[in-house]
């Protein structure tokens, strides 16, 4: 968990939420498909499907009800997307899961805008947000290849950290 803000889970503030926003099943995942094509262009085989979702890690004095309100009104496009709120660090499934987060010292306009949005919703509390991307790679590939994919295609280690589950 070193390369992820999740290592501060429960350490800093009293409430932690991990929110995942993913496309509904019947919508075409353009980002996933694009990445799949790029991986194949690298000469890597055995890729079935890739699903890309947005992830948010929130820490602060907010209730679960408030969290739901924020997620539904601010993060979610309810026509094309669905949402999962985790109150514990999400468990790892069978697939290769890669999370990419901006490094702490890099400005993340999406987080800043989200904080502003929360304030505009009337929730005036001390909250911290980190935004990231989650890639679920349904593939028969080993750890080294996954690392290569991360470095060459997914994350820019100059400004981002990635974590392979």
């Amino acid at each position: 968990m070193k390369n992820s803000p999740l290592h501060t889970w429960n350490k800093k503030m009293n409430k932690n939420f991990y929110i995942e926003i993913h496309l509904k099943k019947n919508f075409f995942d353009a980002f996933g498909d694009d990445l799949k094509k790029s991986i194949i262009e690298m000469g890597i085989t055995g890729i079935n499907n890739i699903y890309v979702s947005d992830i948010y890690f929130l820490q602060g004095e907010i209730s679960k009800k408030e969290m739901e309100k924020i997620a539904k009104n601010l993060f979610l496009d309810s026509i094309t997307q669905t949402l999962t709120i985790y109150t514990k660090p999400p468990e790892v499934h069978n697939k290769k899961i890669i999370e990419v987060w901006y490094k702490k010292q890099v400005s993340d306009p999406v987080s800043i805008t989200a904080l502003k949005g929360i304030k505009d919703m009337g929730i005036n509390k001390n909250i911290q947000i980190r935004c990231g991307k989650k890639y679920q790679i349904d593939a028969d590939i080993d750890k080294d290849i996954t690392e290569t994919i991360c470095k060459k295609l997914i994350a820019n280690t100059l400004i981002q950290d990635y974590r392979i589950s």
Partner: protein, 788 residues
Amino acid sequence: MKAKEIKIINLADKELMDLSKKGLLSLNLEEMKTIQTFFKNLERNPTDLEIETIAQTWSEHCFHKTFKSKILYKEIYNEDFSTEEIPSLFSLIKKSTEKISKKWCLSVFKDNAGIIEFDKNTAIAFKVETHNHPSALEPYGGAATGIGGVIRDILGVGLGAKPILNTDVFCFGPLDISFENLPADIFHPKRLFRGVVSGVRDYGNRMGIPTGNGAIIFDEGYIYNILVYCGTLGIMPKKYINKKVSVGDLIILIGGKTGKDGIHGATFSSANLEKNIPNSVVQIGDPITEKKMLDALLIARDKELISSITDCGAGGLSSAVGELAQDCGAKIFLEKVPLKYYGLEPWEIWLSESQERMVLSANKKNFLKLKKIFDNENVGYSCIGEFTNSGKLEIFHNKDIVGDIDLKFLFSGIPGTSLRANFTYIHQPDIFPENINFQEVLIQLLSHHNIASKEAVIRQYDHEVQSHTILKPLAGIDECGPLDAIVLRPMYDSNKGIVVSCGINPYYGEIDPYMMAGCCIEESLRNLVSVGGNVEKTAFLDNFCWGNINNENILGTLVRCVKGCHDFAIKYDIPFISGKDSLNNYYTVEKDTISIPGTLLISAVSIIEDVKKIVSSDFKEPDSFIYMLGITKDEMAGSHLYKVLNMKAGNVPQPNPEITLPLMKKIRYAINKGIIKACHDCSEGGFAVALSEMIIGGGYGANVDIEKLPKQTDKKISLLFSESQGRFIVEIDKDNSDAFKKIFSGAPFYCIGNTTPDFRLNIFFDKEKIIDIDGEKIKQVWTGALKW
């Protein structure tokens, strides 16, 4: 936090250089010694903030040392040997503008952008910047902040102009290069390509500014260092083109907050790309913040509440405040700068290059009114100091003085340098490939990524927002034909228009940068003339991206290119109004350096009286005459044909202003009279490619005989693929043939065939059919080659 004292007054030469290197100051020994002497005379050491400020101000990026240096230039051209002392490259370019002296040039080479007159009350400002190093390290963020930066240049020209168009020109390595051939620290061209395009797209689209003109070049020379040129065109009332700071005016910082972002951006971009780069040099753009700032600034300008404005670009506050205070002085209180987070040292606040910030000056009595505007538009602001008449920058942090810099030393203390440069022209004999299958070669050219349709990129950009785009990047029957230039109608109550185009071709420069300058100038002109632009009211921007200019031979190619810009600008009678250079684009492998090909981008902007009198390049009807204007010669060096065949031989195309300039004026006249129905210039790939593009756009075929081209060669290969300058293909109604001939009498032209209802390209040489391709095939190859 207090400023640290940097002990330099007693350092020996080697220690001075160590300090410069370790502190990422990018200053040379002579400069370090000048600083040392200056502080010795003051009998004190500088603070960290002071030395950083000097390093930023004197960096290649901010001060353009190379362009301002005296150069001893040696040139060997065939048998001729000449030496010359050039006062400075910058003065050479400026001299051409002074000589051309157009009264409609309102502000040249002094503000954040060049300004020309649009109509009685309105002016337009144009600027193109580069953001190469950051884009190579983080393509998405680097390109986005590149376009964000040039938009702020337009917001910060005069008292502010409204951005109405973005342009983008990129150079990448070939997309099909294998991963194994790349060093581990270099991104694959495809990743860079996608990242850069996405960055420009997201920033421009979110700001609500159309992105409508550009070019993309793919070449091995750009594998290690990509080039990202971003331009913005703005419109403003003429009365706001000047700015003036008055003593006592407040210094107001507006826009985003300040963090550690971009520290050392200016000094970093002046050095070559090395390993172990701090991540603070790249940033992620925030277009929404910039958009809010744009809206607020234009309101403040129209209420005449501000006296001066400039953007916080390279060097951050140090360069923005320094520039504005240059002729007076300023007191700054750094604790008043809104920060993203706690823990910044004073020098970091002063030097930070956090994006989306601008500095403006305003009379104290206007502050409350400004405050109201900024609050209404939800824009962050803070009054951080005021202008004084001390001739100094006095910088405080929580009552401690952290910097006290003499402005005269800061801006004129830099030691003048004298450089040496050599250029040798190597003549290449004419060699022509034999047994060429013209048809196959044409297909190969049409699918070459430099020539093929850029629709995959263009369609991602919003080129319609603000709804003043009259001629778009693509048009024709399926909206997929390429157009030469974009035409805007910026005022809803007038038909006056703006035409924007560009010219870039590094291949000619590999042989002769002088001719490259001429050809780029001419290409940008041909592009705008093809749609109906007016060469008599056109202005240029120059953007030089060069390799390791510490190498005298590489500097020599730059000098020769600048000489070309000077000479051809005068010959075509077109002034340069602004420009920028990005030098030291090279990569170090062990002890070798790999430089980019010297690359010149010429961007042209022209004012036309009536946007209704323009044409596009697609053929409009079957059974029209096709005329060729301009002479075809054996000029194959640097051509895309030779690129495809991997050949180096022959002469580079030579522009011929004596013939072409009158021709361009005639074309404009004929377009205005409605005689020309379609017009397209011949550039990359020559005649055959240009004709194919006109077919793709129109959905009609063409039957032509290249034996009839006005020419100085009989070689079929030259007639089809030579990239001779000054050539246009035009479509004329048969009934207008006589009128056309009358207009063009005295110019080189000939009727070479006609358009056909059958969607097919037939090219004859006298009676021999040398090319016969189905139009659908041409279209499919050209539109399908460059995939996202």
